[in-house]
Symmetry: D2
Amino acid sequence: MKRRSILGVAGALLALFSGMAAAQPLAITHATIIDATGRAPIADGVIVIDEGRIVAVGPADSVRIPGNATRIDKSGKYVIPGLMDANVHLVMNFDVDTLVRFNGRYDEIAIEGAQIALKSGVTTVFDTWGPAPDLIAARDRIDSGKEIGTRIFLAGNIIGFDGPISDDFHSNLKDILRMDLAEDINRRWTGGMDRSLQWMSAAEVGKKTQAYTATGVDFLKYASSGHQYMEFMAFSDHAQKAIVDAGHQAGKTVQAHVTSIESTRMAMDAGADILTHCDVSPKHPLPPELLAEMAAKKIHCSILANTKAALAASNYKELFENNVVNVRNMIAAGVPLMMSTDAGIEHPIPVKPLTPHDTVDPRIRLGEGHFFAYQALEEMGIDPMKILQMTTINVATGYKKDKDLGSIEVGKRADLVILDKDPLASASNYRAIDTVIKDGRIVDRNALPTKPLISSQKRPAAAAVAK
Amino acid sequence: MKRRSILGVAGALLALFSGMAAAQPLAITHATIIDATGRAPIADGVIVIDEGRIVAVGPADSVRIPGNATRIDKSGKYVIPGLMDANVHLVMNFDVDTLVRFNGRYDEIAIEGAQIALKSGVTTVFDTWGPAPDLIAARDRIDSGKEIGTRIFLAGNIIGFDGPISDDFHSNLKDILRMDLAEDINRRWTGGMDRSLQWMSAAEVGKKTQAYTATGVDFLKYASSGHQYMEFMAFSDHAQKAIVDAGHQAGKTVQAHVTSIESTRMAMDAGADILTHCDVSPKHPLPPELLAEMAAKKIHCSILANTKAALAASNYKELFENNVVNVRNMIAAGVPLMMSTDAGIEHPIPVKPLTPHDTVDPRIRLGEGHFFAYQALEEMGIDPMKILQMTTINVATGYKKDKDLGSIEVGKRADLVILDKDPLASASNYRAIDTVIKDGRIVDRNALPTKPLISSQKRPAAAAVAK
Amino acid sequence: MKRRSILGVAGALLALFSGMAAAQPLAITHATIIDATGRAPIADGVIVIDEGRIVAVGPADSVRIPGNATRIDKSGKYVIPGLMDANVHLVMNFDVDTLVRFNGRYDEIAIEGAQIALKSGVTTVFDTWGPAPDLIAARDRIDSGKEIGTRIFLAGNIIGFDGPISDDFHSNLKDILRMDLAEDINRRWTGGMDRSLQWMSAAEVGKKTQAYTATGVDFLKYASSGHQYMEFMAFSDHAQKAIVDAGHQAGKTVQAHVTSIESTRMAMDAGADILTHCDVSPKHPLPPELLAEMAAKKIHCSILANTKAALAASNYKELFENNVVNVRNMIAAGVPLMMSTDAGIEHPIPVKPLTPHDTVDPRIRLGEGHFFAYQALEEMGIDPMKILQMTTINVATGYKKDKDLGSIEVGKRADLVILDKDPLASASNYRAIDTVIKDGRIVDRNALPTKPLISSQKRPAAAAVAK
Amino acid sequence: MKRRSILGVAGALLALFSGMAAAQPLAITHATIIDATGRAPIADGVIVIDEGRIVAVGPADSVRIPGNATRIDKSGKYVIPGLMDANVHLVMNFDVDTLVRFNGRYDEIAIEGAQIALKSGVTTVFDTWGPAPDLIAARDRIDSGKEIGTRIFLAGNIIGFDGPISDDFHSNLKDILRMDLAEDINRRWTGGMDRSLQWMSAAEVGKKTQAYTATGVDFLKYASSGHQYMEFMAFSDHAQKAIVDAGHQAGKTVQAHVTSIESTRMAMDAGADILTHCDVSPKHPLPPELLAEMAAKKIHCSILANTKAALAASNYKELFENNVVNVRNMIAAGVPLMMSTDAGIEHPIPVKPLTPHDTVDPRIRLGEGHFFAYQALEEMGIDPMKILQMTTINVATGYKKDKDLGSIEVGKRADLVILDKDPLASASNYRAIDTVIKDGRIVDRNALPTKPLISSQKRPAAAAVAK
């Protein structure tokens, strides 16, 4: 694996960024700045950006704007940090047409997803399940400036689960796709870190994980519980510890897929940094002792927030029955929460006629899902500032990227979203995007996605029937 | 529909035909000629070809060879008419990878199939179920000399059956392919002539059929019986008659898919010219009265002959249980039989591990299947001359193409196969192909298929997994 | 088969009939008599019954009541003929619990059904698909006076269909029931007259049918079209004719299961007496020529009438899309129609949670279904007298039982229903049953069913879990 | 729960025991005694039995036979302890016919199984999954002398698994059985200790288990790993410990269903006494460290031994791929092993045609399975004395019943099998049963089962089809 850095964007000037020279500082003036540190908003604030980073921020009267700076006046607008999504799947379209037609080009779909995310203000995503080779290619092309897109960090497989064409995910595609294609797809997703590990001793699982950390993935995710039957555990206590230890030794954050009280506890005991959708615990809410320990250990939880309308139309009502109470209890207990969507892009034409489940507030639709999530959190009565932090600084902290990301502070990457309306006044105001800035460059949102493949409104290679 | 002619190959000299000028006559000399008329073989015979047709044939001492003729000495070899297959499906590969990857290009797959057939001595095929728009495109490109390939006549849909992605054929693909693709595929195959006709009155069925005859198909095929449940009838007596009459009024031969005694009888009563796989009548063999009437009416039957080994490994033993006895009885009764394979091309990598059923004597593998069929007929003890006629003159007569095709007689198209060994001595000798001639031109068999898509031995777009 | 007679009720006095001596005449007085002949109602009418038959009927002033007659004063009430249902299935509960627990006792379930029907005013049913041995046993026990119940006529199998545990009906039960049980059940229903006949020649089908007529069934029913795929035909024209001819030669009425224009026409051409649910022709209504011919030939149609509410909740909307228009057109054309329900009894506890389809106006629930059917016919705007005739005299005529049944006329069986309200004023008034009389005896409705098995409101053999 | 004792057989003299008075001592003389303690066989040995227990055992010259003893001369024969099976399922026939027909009478099926086991020399079984209320009833009737049968100890449910009609076992029966029946069956098996526990916290699981120990079960079994997907864990480390602790506090032995390295280790860590089919660890054999710890902790393993022939015909080859090597390694490491069969009784008529898997050496057929298991162990090359101990003293020790059972020693229950041939010479000699003695009484093997229900060779309630 070649080394990479989130600073790697470097020189290359992309046509997609607006024409301004990178060498020249940029000053945003007269806007209200909500820096996500928890501090009160700064009215008539100024942010100065140079070399892709924030070099100054504060009230107009306290910040000196360099003489050569380009000034953009954002009076009446609101500046917040670039939005972060703790849990996406850039390549999640499993209609077989997409699987086949773009086989060998899944990296392009990842780029398309990364651009749709960026267009909607999400400047950083954490891809927690996807085809590592393709996601790495997409990530590296974006980091190197060859493509525009959201900043990607990726986990590859959820260690312990089989690939998409399996009982863990899309069992209906087994015996449908040709063997070579099915194997290729599964291998891209699992990298060999599949259910076969469950048969191994903890020591062997640790060794396999250690090797996997060197394949270019940014962080690790493993299955504490099952995906088909979420009440089962995927790994023993020893095996979970072996995975976490191997990840930590390689300097990676490690997160666990959890869906029940005990899978949550096991992952915490094993030392996981992040618990993915820890708000999911059907039948029984997470007990107080558990929450207290999570808070004490500063374990971050990425949550899946559904609007009431979405929940009413959901096929998974039982699964989500305790999410709201868990979220409230976690906030009360002081557990740091991270906004996540589980989102990906989808083809506009479905395999089956759409049901309300698919169309009401689809949190899992990349580019829109996070707006529904904010709305859902607002419906739960969560403090607007906390909502903002859940999608910025908390995500950065959870993934240990807060040195560079997550708030508007001097020294951090200049990832910013400028809104026409106050996001603290209404969660719906996140949709009122004026400008997205990533690494100090203004994004030409109208140009995104640059090469629509599966998200275009018309089927690209429409095969008309000859007369 | 634009008019076409089997004479249309005309001028264009294809690189794939060996370099000889078409303008110059060709004389095949010193070969044994088995002309398929039923006459005894001509030892030391001569065939003279000009302008794509046979202009003279007979013993060496009775035929005058033009001075400007190119002579090719085929001493010790055997010349027979180009082989004809009464029932193929050039596009029959329903692995979804092929369906998707080549969607919009099924004509190319048809060309590939046509070349594989030609390479193995089959100079004319009758495609009895396939995507009409694509098969028409392939047929026309071959007829016009733009592509090399076997001569194609096509039916399009089996009137009354739904498309490939349906309960009539591949029900496992329903709810798997995206709706637009599934609809496109089904429409290509059915042209709208699907099960919806079964709900109509006979009069309406007749009108729909009349319109269908004008869409470029060469002949008609309809469902007398069902395909999923072969004991059911697809159409009433009146509706069958309406279909046959509409076809005949448009000058088309009409054939019926039959799989039982009564579906056979209904099709005969309706006036069908050809009964497809009339040898299939599980549980009860065709009764003598029926056979007598078929013979009296000169109704042609296309049969599916399985070797004993294939039958032993077959998944369809019950379906084929009376085929051999039916074939013998039909021969005894004087019913004219036509060899057919039901063959198509398949990708070398399967969806599921292959079973003996798929690998033992696969009659349905285009390019090989007819050889297995000849062997099967030989195993049944059928006279070698009759076997030859079943794959040449009988097919031409059944489809009313005997003015141009089916035997080595003056005035007919010069479609010939030259064998190293005597096909009357052993059916396996059909495999010993020395030369294939179509329309008077020698086929460069080594160059076929010119553009292997799904039949190539390696997956073309192999998507290697990045390290 | 032992001979039977609808007169066979004979001597035995059942406790279930009210205590009155059969030897003594009965006179119903002061009621409005609607005799179903089409004549206007007789106000203050008298009906005299003796020996199970009607011996006099007319206005009070025109009828002499024998001195020894028991008089029952029914002032203000309405007397109509006993209701007749042209199409029921007394044994139609395919929950496996019932199939197993009552295996060997299906005759008792038939009796239970017969009693539920009688209780609700239906004095005669035609069972058009069921286990012949068990239905015969039930019929004979009722006819001989050993059991009380509606008068049963039965067809046994729908010739050409496989048994209940098959793709024609309950494919989900295949490979679930033990082989011996599944075979037993299927054989009881089919009597061997299953799909295997479809593989036979018409002549053989005729022979098999001839033998079947001698097994104790009262009439014949065969499949003109399919049951799973209703657009297919089950039998050829010749085979249908062979079946009808065999039935007629044995003196049976013959009816055909039809579900499309052409299956209807084929059955009519074959000479069928009755077309079952001829109102079902999805996609295309029955064409006028067809209706005219049906009327001219006096072919009776048994129809399935759904209320608007039921149709709105139905899982079979597409199947029934033309029923209303077909019924109207048939009435206009003069086709004689017969009311039918397709009803059976069901266990109160279902296999799956009930849906609206199962609960809104369930025409197929024996004992209630006919009331919903009358309501549906009323919703269609059909003349109330015609509705009454459709469930009395028309059924009798269609089945050629009008010498004995179907109207209130001298010489006919004394099957009567006395209502509290006028059925010509509202179809809902059929529910207001005062008295049911069968064969001249007053039925003790409160005692029915005498031995509730599957219709009881509590599971009889409830297996409590031991502590 | 009423208290019970394995001494409870007490007074009642059953007709099924041979006529000898229980009050009178019994002496077996002149036999070779293999007492299963590991000591060398005693040639010409004597065993004296009184009050159901062994009161003396030794060489003829060292044992004094009471004057009033009945002597039975067993010269040339071999006496071994009554056989014990560590893992059976007396009620395991899930054909729906049996489920329905005997619903409410499963205790009778358990008795039938208990008698079939006893007849074949198995005097004690441990039922590790079954309907507790019914098994308790059967156990108590046998213990009280009301029925003859093998001695039963039972676990009820495998804690954590859903009932038989579920994805854990027979998913094909879901939506087939009526809801009330399916619920009744599932509740009988699970007693509420189903998958719902997996959603709970460890503390709650412990509480539920504690309550379950008081329902009459003899020992506990829980799911360390899954049953459908055996690589998953059913419970966390804490939850497993909570189950084991609750069992131990109630004085029960606790065993775990294990199917992989880590599920084995977790169960051992949790303190389980017995690991059920610990020899099952597909893909990877149990590692040496694990075996060493198992041996050190004296954890007993019940194993499933398959003959080579059975394995060759098995549908579960992959599951059993490491069983032989695991068994050998465990013996080498000193892990105490217990013979088990997983056996139950089955109806002679199957749901589907039998495959070789079902018929070759069916270890799971009660009454025969243990013989196949002995043969399998012999094929593995295991010392004959160890084989005997695996089916006697080891089972007793593992279940902590060795004070009363498992060897021929003074003070133990007089459970004995007398063989015609030496079991140490060949495992097949276990089949040569001369006499079975349970609790000091000679069993009348010919009378067993006394009331054959599902094991009879003919279907009892055969429902003949009426003519």
